[in-house]
């Protein structure tokens, strides 16, 4: 009789535990659902994360392989489930970062991006897919995360981080990640983290290289301690100009995830006063000892003069996007539209079409009548290229018996303007007299407006 009572009590206890676990899961799912359907277009105050003290049986099974690590253990896993992490930028770094944080069981994941998914993102932004093209990246990433781990609360923000919304947003997340791609946002996130007293796990990647540092953490420097002044805008290269091998931001995003998991589970980071540099070409990681927090830093120093967020686009002299800048170096008379150039082609007017893109881009696509002399070769006055230019011009001159019209083209119509300025100086000196114009909008405008079969990149 006593045995039966004991057994019943035990069974009851087990059922109660099961019910509690199911309720918790239901709650998380409902909250997750409502979050997902509500793409955040502006920053609102979220309800606090419900604090866990134990792991459910399902948690134990799901996270068993990492629970076995003494460095993490149950305590660390419970800590992860109680942490909110904001990911600024759901691109090449943000995707693998968010993916591993969700897989590891982070409590809440804020996913912020102002952009939408494009085909040219997919080689590196691995949470997005062909079917989510055109959707907000934040939403696309949140959907992928949900398929992976529905117990993680995802909050997708489809908005541009700005001085007006950054502080309200950042105060809701104890841990911040910088995964964005432009200088103004970098200073904005840095300053907002310093003002809120939060560590910033920051990474970047370009071409075959990556860099990672944890800023504003345990006496280490903030971004401004290292770089008090922003770089001149013309020295900043973005992924759409410089290119990037997809796996390189993948590697850096994974390293960010590792540091976030270490900080969130109470182990601390290895990079608070270190810069990790990765060179994928040479297959080399190297860790550099950085300066400590700078006493004279305007935001984290002893006497900070920057106590409110500022206008970062003005401070940096560039826009808070990675979209290409449009230069205006020439007058209207020095440029032709793609439609006007098409008429010149149709009219068989003798002329020279000079493509000034680097060879690697010419290999992707070019107009068959063009000759290629990269802008850098024109600037360096490379002998073989100058000879080619001279000879082509004098051949045309013999045909036309008049001044040779030269049209310069590049991808978007920025470099072509610089080339026109160079060629005008060379005209009559290093070459025969020429009239030079550039094709406004470049080959991408040609592809959009004239020849739809011409590739875009």
């Amino acid at each position: 009789m006593d045995d039966t009572i004991l057994s019943l009590k035990t069974q009851l206890l087990e059922r109660e535990r099961e019910i509690a676990a199911l309720k918790k899961k239901l709650h998380q799912m409902e909250q997750g659902n409502s979050m997902l359907t509500e793409l955040q277009e502006k920053v609102t105050n979220l309800s606090p994360l419900i604090s866990n003290v134990t792991l459910s049986n399902e948690d134990i099974m799901r996270y068993s392989r990492q629970l076995l690590l003494p460095e993490l253990g149950v305590k660390g896993q419970v800590a992860l489930s109680n942490v909110s992490v904001l990911v600024v930028g759901c691109g090449g770094l943000g995707c693998p970062l968010a993916q591993y944080l969700a897989a590891a069981g982070i409590g809440r994941l804020g996913l912020l991006d102002y952009d939408v998914v494009e085909l040219s993102n997919l080689h590196r932004q691995v949470l997005h897919s062909e079917v989510t093209q055109g959707q907000p990246k934040a939403l696309s990433a949140a959907q992928a995360i949900r398929r992976l781990n529905s117990t993680v609360q995802c909050v997708p923000y489809h908005l541009q981080l700005s001085r007006d919304n950054a502080r309200q947003l950042i105060q809701q997340y104890p841990l911040m990640n910088y995964c964005s791609d432009n200088v103004p946002t970098r200073y904005l996130v840095n300053d907002a983290c310093v003002l809120a007293g939060k560590p910033l796990v920051s990474a970047s990647a370009l071409r075959m290289e990556g860099q990672l540092t944890v800023y504003n953490y345990r006496g280490g420097p903030c971004y401004r301690c290292l770089f008090p002044s922003p770089p001149p805008p013309e020295t900043v290269t973005n992924c759409s100009d410089g290119g990037v091998l997809g796996v390189v931001p993948g590697i850096m995003g994974c390293l960010q995830a590792l540091e976030v998991l270490k900080i969130a589970s109470g182990q601390g980071s290895s990079f608070e006063q270190q810069l990790l540099m990765f060179d994928g070409q040479e297959g080399r990681f190297r860790s550099i000892r950085l300066r400590s927090r700078q006493i004279e830093c305007v935001v984290c120093g002893e006497k900070p003069t920057l106590t409110e967020l500022q206008d970062y686009e003005q401070f940096c002299g560039s826009a808070a996007t990675d979209k290409c800048r449009r230069l205006t170096l020439l007058t209207k008379e020095q440029r032709v539209s793609v439609q006007e150039y098409r008429a010149i082609l149709d009219g068989s007017t003798p002329h020279l079409l000079l493509d000034v893109r680097p060879k690697v881009e010419v290999d992707i696509c070019h107009l068959s009548t063009s000759i290629n002399i990269p802008l850098a070769s024109l600037e360096d006055k490379k002998a073989e290229h100058i000879t080619l230019l001279k000879e082509t011009i004098s051949n045309l001159r013999q045909q036309t018996k008049s001044q040779v019209p030269v049209f310069v083209v590049c991808k978007l119509g920025n470099d072509s303007q610089k080339a026109v300025q160079l060629l005008e100086k060379m005209s009559g000196v290093e070459t025969e007299q020429i009239t030079v114009k550039d094709i406004s909008g470049g080959l991408m405008a040609w592809a959009k407006n004239i020849d739809h079969s011409f590739p875009q990149y």
Binding site: G92, L206, L226, P231, T235, V236, L290
Partner: protein
């Protein structure tokens, strides 16, 4: 009289594009009456290695904002920046910060 110095210079993060895309350079600085410091090295790089557009690498007598200088794997701020006196076989790295994501 300071003896000639052999240095290993490295450029990365895109800074190598100003040096014909070459990341590693072994250079020999001639002997001179005073020891070589970083300020003189930068002037030497500008005069001997940098062909085009020095403004993409330098501003005044120092590196432009956005380039981090490392001496023997440490931030140059820890080593005295422009005043650091170079030793034979020092390794000096110029790294441009990346902004891609």
């Amino acid at each position: 009289m300071a003896a000639p110095l052999g240095l290993h210079l490295e450029f990365g993060g895109g800074a190598e594009l100003l040096f014909d895309g070459v990341k590693n350079h072994h250079v020999a600085l001639p002997g001179q009456s005073d020891p070589w410091d970083m300020k003189q090295l930068l002037a030497w790089i500008r005069g001997n290695m940098l062909k085009e557009r020095p403004e993409l690498f330098m501003q005044g007598d120092t590196v432009r904002p956005g380039i981090l200088v490392l001496i023997n794997d440490a931030d140059w701020e820890l080593m005295g920046e422009l005043e650091y006196q170079l030793q034979d076989q020092d390794n000096v790295v110029f790294i441009s910060t990346l902004h891609g994501g």
